[in-house]
Symmetry: none
Subunit: 208 residues, 4 copies
DNA sequence: GATGAATGAGCATTCATTCAT
DNA sequence: CATGAATGAATGCTCATTCAT
């Protein structure tokens, strides 16, 4: 129902300065919360304006369109996943079992805390135009590929057993989102219980 | 002036006749397609009107609100899942392994064909008011409970091994939705390949 | 989908500036005329938009709802009545007869010129929600109370005679609205004739 | 906002029979209640249909339009006023004072009991097209004229004193509607108190 | 007499976005 | 950087009324 093509304004690369980026971040963060609570379509720019305290026309000084906000929300959600591999030095762990276990634990932890954000990702992707959606999915794929690598290494060293590395990597990533996507049926488990159960479930799938 | 309170509207379940129900079905079916393609919020009643060929005001003769359409869409999607257990005589199979395998195959098949519908379910549930959402989730829970039963039987007979029946049942149901939810990363697999891979993955999780 | 609850809208009393208030006044004034001519329910926002030359969506920038317009119409009609006592120094007149006569003359004059507005008040009050209606009625009561005071003073000084001050004050106020409410049967009288007749009628009721 | 001219259908004078008129009455009575409670514009034909239990399209078999219902409502409200003079043999009373007093008492009594109906009359007259409104107003005028006659007789016999018979008759009729029109400010009085106060007020105006 | 289905115009309100200052 | 005002299109929904059976 878009009003107009986002129109590639690009007008103002003038602001690389802090304030500009700070404001953008502020907008995206508040928007994330609103989108999670009410859904993207049900959240109006006026509400984002009110929540941030930034006047509605000024809002458009910092972002090009509502769509761009959603895109940046998605970017922001992905960031921690990406950081994971870099910051925690996971790729440096040699033992594949240990390595996978670490990834899983970290991700489950993340998935538990950022449940709503992940849900948002699944729920509202459709809103994005193909071009932007592609960027998001590419990030995801890269992430899956990293897990695939770990799996392959384990397969070579004969500590993992499974048929198809790519499929298995996907399964693992998918399972890590189980809690956010099905939380209503998992309320009876504590965070620790759930993480333990899922960890075992995933490891079982690759070990035997 | 606020729209009239939704009250006083219940009144008329007078229409049990064919045409009425046929029209309702027609509306819900077309709406399903539109919702899948564009998202619920992005689909207007006018579009549904156009797609069904039913005048917009007449549309409201058959359904109470846009929300009701979504609810009925969800109901309709759930129906085949529910039928599964009843129509296929699955609950009559004695051997748990055989029984679970049958359920999985049936469900995967279903999940493959109705991918977009399932996606819709995950994506747009949030739109429904709590009261209606509860009804949808109750159906889901019932469905999960049936799988849990199979699992428990297998556990008693010592052919299945896992820690927590409820959790495992949830996992299985969740995995069955993997294809619809992550299709973009699974395009390289044929339907058969995917079903085989998933079947093995699930069975592995309960057998060992 | 119900219109959003009226809540969260209060937010912005930010605009004290001229244009904003000027526009509001412009809207209310035009609306008054339309409401008088066609009735509140029969006047659409589109018509108000057209009459004011303010785009319909911009209209909503200045007023919250059609209902609010009606409320402001009522407020505006009441204002001159209220001003009467303050501006004309009526409360400073000592002689009750002279004082009452002045009030009557002023009000009749007002009632004659603002006949349609008063009619509107009687006709459309029902549209307002209780909370707003209360505000309107409170103003009326205050006005009646002021006349009651005059009457009581006259009673004490033994120049007025009647049974019940409150009732009589109400009667007087009511009679002042006679022309607007029954104009169709009073067309044969000129403004002066009518004012004279009514003045005598009212004075008679309190003097003897 | 009328949809279409009432279109002088006239199609069916076939039904002079009881049932037809009974149904009409039933409709008008229920409609009166709804109009009083919610206002004419805010009452939909669907609601009238529901309240009467008569199917909405069948409703149109008995009445030509929503407008006609309102007209008949007005007719019905007027009827008792008209009956008054005939049924009670008021016109046969010789003494003007006694006669006027009787009229007043009867009318006040009526006005008290049918307050809401009278209010409806004042409130919604505007909805009627001129042609129908004329009929209603003619009835009113006839009614006023009857009171005028009584006044004139009293004037001739030198028991009444006032300047203008027509004006005074109008005033009296108007005052008789005081309770319905200003009930919010008169709640503190009982029916008897109010009738007594008003009776004295009116008689005072013609006697001295 | 009664019913279900249809019609088409209309409604109040909200939206994302832009412009001039 | 910030603000008030404007724009124009869209939205979900309801209306009085009529038609064919």
């Amino acid at each position: 129902m878009k009003r107009k093509a986002a129109s590639e304004k690009e007008s103002a690369p003038k602001k690389n300065n802090d304030l500009f980026q700070k404001r953008q971040l502020q907008i995206v963060k508040k928007a994330t919360k609103l989108f999670m609570k009410k859904g993207y379509a049900q959240t109006s720019m006026r509400e984002i304006s009110k929540a941030t305290g930034i006047d509605i026309s000024n809002l458009y000084y910092f972002i090009k369109s509502k769509e761009e906000i959603l895109f940046r929300v998605f970017e922001m959600i992905h960031q921690p996943e990406i950081d994971l591999f870099e910051k925690q030095g996971i790729m440096d762990i040699d033992d594949p079992i240990e390595q996978l276990r670490t990834v899983i634990r970290e991700l489950l932890d993340f998935g538990y805390d950022y449940g709503e954000e992940i849900l948002l990702l699944y729920r509202e992707s459709k809103v994005l135009p193909k071009s932007l959606l592609k960027i998001i999915l590419a990030r995801e794929s890269h992430f899956v590929a990293q897990i695939e690598e770990i799996l392959k290494k384990g397969l070579e060293r004969n500590v993992f057993h499974f048929e198809d590395a790519s499929f298995t990597a996907n399964t693992i990533v998918y399972e890590l989102s189980m809690h956010p996507l099905r939380s209503w049926n998992l309320k009876k488990y504590s965070k620790e219980e759930l993480i333990n159960l899922l960890e075992k479930h995933v490891m079982k799938a690759v070990i035997f």
